[in-house]
């Protein structure tokens, strides 16, 4: 324990470490607050003048505006929302809401905007996948929203070339999604995008902290002395691994938790009850509300994060130059992002699942994978991408950490 505490002290006292830890902590508040600044609404008051609300004022205004329809997203509420849209569109001779004057949108439609989310998706053409216009939707048809949603899921997967067994698995998962969906104004997709970005930044910060753990000892030659001491071999290797993972792990979780607390406090805790299907695709498989999604994204990413940190520790134990170890760490942080953009879809899906930290990044993130319907096949076995990511990470962590300790103990022998 004493060696562990001294090792922790040694890492934390390094200037780069505490600067990065401080930056990570400050960013937690900032990254939670930035999405608030995207909120804005224009309101007409009694004497016909318009007032612009932005930030938290806009959030609070919308929460008040939608107070009577918050909660269960019933088929009736969806019908009511579509009716309002159709009425406004007909009145102004428009075919879509973006053709309407801005004030019409704010005065008549913004209240119902979340409730039409997913309607056009669910009623899209079975063969082409094209979303219908609001005017072509019949209110009677809209009333079957929840019956139609699983059909749409199957059609969508069929269009994407999924096998029947994948569709069946997806249907089983989708059945567990609570219906009717829930909606409360507050946490939206922007916040989740920022959670993804923040997780990526935290990972990079921690990679910088972890990369010199072993390589700096090699570079300075100090390991020659350390490995001659009584506890300088396996025990030191294990202590270094544990201390690095503790510091970065606690930082990751602490900052992630602060982000969640600040975000939900700003946007309102009630909004965490919103079904993720109301914010992302209506066909999303996880049975999670936004609050649960924030936690699953954080804790799931934490597992992936640990696998990436394990890889970086392994590289550090293999590379005798701290700068090269840092470059290698950065490479493996950014590689999944590049692969996701540049590689063919099947390959990028595999690598996203199998690479340590493959689903930490931007578009390749765990969050977006949870909104996708991708299954990967190995022979007759098919697994939802997200499950495979967790399985791969759980295998990588012990393998890489044992490899790290072994590499350190065997070095220069």
């Amino acid at each position: 324990m004493r060696i562990f505490m001294l090792e922790v002290k040694k890492i934390i006292r390094t200037r780069v470490t505490w600067i990065l830890l401080l930056a990570a902590l400050l960013l937690s508040g900032l990254m939670a607050y930035i999405p608030v600044t995207f909120e804005g609404v224009s309101v007409q008051n009694g004497d016909g003048e318009r007032t612009e609300f932005s930030g938290l004022a806009a959030v609070h205004y919308l929460q008040d505006l939608r107070a009577d329809i918050s909660g269960d997203v019933t088929a009736e509420n969806v019908q009511r929302a579509v009716r309002e849209y159709q009425s406004a569109l007909k009145e102004y001779g428009a075919t879509d809401s973006y053709e309407l004057p801005e004030e019409v949108y704010y005065d008549r439609l913004i209240k119902y905007q979340p409730f039409v989310h997913g309607v056009r998706e669910v009623f899209s053409d079975e063969k082409t996948g094209m979303a219908p216009g609001f005017l072509s939707l019949s209110l009677e048809e809209v009333g079957t929203f929840y019956e139609k949603a699983p059909v749409r899921l199957a059609n969508l997967m069929r269009m994407e070339g999924s096998s029947q067994s994948d569709i069946d698995k997806a249907q089983v998962m989708y059945q567990k999604v609570e219906k009717p969906f829930q909606y409360y104004t507050g946490v939206e997709g922007n916040s989740m995008d920022y959670q993804v970005l923040y997780i990526f930044l935290l990972t990079i910060f921690c990679a910088v902290i972890v990369s010199p753990i072993f390589s700096m000892e090699y570079q300075t030659g100090s390991d020659d002395i350390l490995r001659c001491t009584k506890y300088g071999r396996l025990r030191l290797a294990v202590t270094k691994i544990l201390s690095a993972l503790c510091i970065t792990g606690i930082t990751f979780l602490l900052c992630g938790i602060i982000w969640i607390l600040v975000t939900n406090t700003l946007f309102g805790w009630e909004s965490t009850k919103t079904s993720m299907q109301m914010i992302f695709s209506a066909s999303s498989l996880p049975a999670l509300n936004m609050g649960e999604l924030e936690w699953v994204n954080l804790l799931g990413s934490f597992l992936l994060f640990l696998s990436l940190m394990s890889l970086i520790l392994f590289l550090s134990a293999r590379i005798k130059n701290a700068a090269i170890a840092l470059a290698a760490a950065m490479f493996f942080c950014i590689l999944p992002v590049i692969i996701y953009i540049g590689a063919p879809e099947v390959l990028s899906n595999w690598l996203q699942c199998l690479l340590p930290g493959g689903a930490i990044g931007l578009n390749n993130s765990l969050l977006y994978a949870m909104t996708e319907l991708d299954f990967l096949h190995l022979g007759s076995l098919s697994v939802w991408n997200v499950h495979l990511m967790f399985i791969a990470a759980a295998i990588w962590i012990p393998v890489l950490l044992i490899g790290t300790a072994w590499s350190y103990c065997r070095r220069s022998m």
Partner: protein, 293 residues
């Protein structure tokens, strides 16, 4: 107590760094002399257990150190040639860290660190970062860490490099005190360091131990080969080409006094001089003269 190097060799792809070395080290200070590239550092790294011999074994009290592992390291202290440390460490922080790795209790750590800081005259810089210390001070921190666990086997690779003459004298005295009932092996090419304190010496050349013995025994190898004579100043260049000069000194009236090595006297009027370790060193390593002091 005995450390036995049992026919150890270290071969690389195209070079034999240590070639079938056998040496029985008993308590006392041992000097390991040799030119650069003779294999001293490789030999010491194998004794330290941070390099595995290609052949042979290092045995402590009859047991291979690869089997003793922690038990051997618990009794071992090592200062490598290049003393490396984590750049953010303060002197005290570093010594506490190494003490923990050496298994010292908290109380012993405090006592021993204070004692060594005092002995190494590092008390005033205890809270300074090592990276900001002078070369000599860094070396003293290196020596202090090696002594923390009061090792039974102490291996010091070039411990006095970077130390000023006063520091070297203090170091020698400290080591003489410490070496009682302990095996201390010092590698150096500063011959005077081991000449004063080494009980026995081993001389390495091209990966082999070519001689071993007390200073008196070893210097006998150059008995009758050390001469001293005087030459006129203007003939110095000529003699520098012809002779292995150990040292030279300007005398009055344009004469230069030379101490040189040769089978027979080469300057008329030369007288035989009592051999010293540096004479032996230059006799064995004619290319090396930078380390004499």
């Amino acid at each position: 107590m005995e450390l036995y190097l049992d026919h150890i060799s270290k071969k690389y792809k195209d070079k034999v760094a240590v070639d079938d070395v056998s040496l029985r080290l008993t308590p006392g200070v041992w000097g390991l002399l040799g030119a650069n590239g003779a294999g001293k550092t490789t030999l010491m790294r194998m004794i330290a257990g941070i390099m595995r011999p290609t052949a042979g074994q290092v045995k402590y009290d009859g047991l291979p150190i690869t089997e003793l592992k922690e038990k051997y390291r618990d009794r071992f202290g090592y200062l490598p040639q290049d003393f490396g440390f984590y750049p953010e460490f303060t002197v005290k922080g570093y010594l506490y860290y190494v003490a923990a790795l050496k298994g010292l209790t908290k109380r012993d750590t405090k006592r021993k660190v204070e004692e060594l800081l005092e002995q190494m005259t590092l008390t005033e810089v205890r809270n300074k970062k090592i990276v900001k210390l002078s070369g000599g001070m860094k070396r003293r921190v290196g020596i202090a860490q090696a002594l923390l666990n009061e090792p039974e086997v102490l291996v010091l690779d070039e411990p006095t490099s970077g130390l000023d003459p006063g520091e070297r004298v203090r170091f020698r005295n400290l080591l003489s005190e410490f070496a009682h009932d302990k095996i201390v092996l010092i590698s150096t090419h500063i011959v005077s360091d081991v000449e004063y304190i080494a009980m026995r010496n081993a001389i390495m050349k091209d990966g082999k131990i070519i001689a071993e013995g007390t200073t008196e025994e070893l210097t006998q190898m150059v008995e009758g080969k050390v001469w001293s004579g005087k030459i006129p100043e203007e003939r110095l260049l000529e003699f520098e080409h012809r002779l292995r000069i150990v040292n030279l000194k300007n005398e009055e009236s344009g004469k230069i006094s030379l101490r040189y090595l040769a089978d027979e006297p080469q300057i008329s009027g030369s007288i035989s001089a009592a051999p010293r370790m540096e004479d032996l060193y230059l006799w064995l390593f004619p290319q090396e003269n930078g380390g004499i002091s």
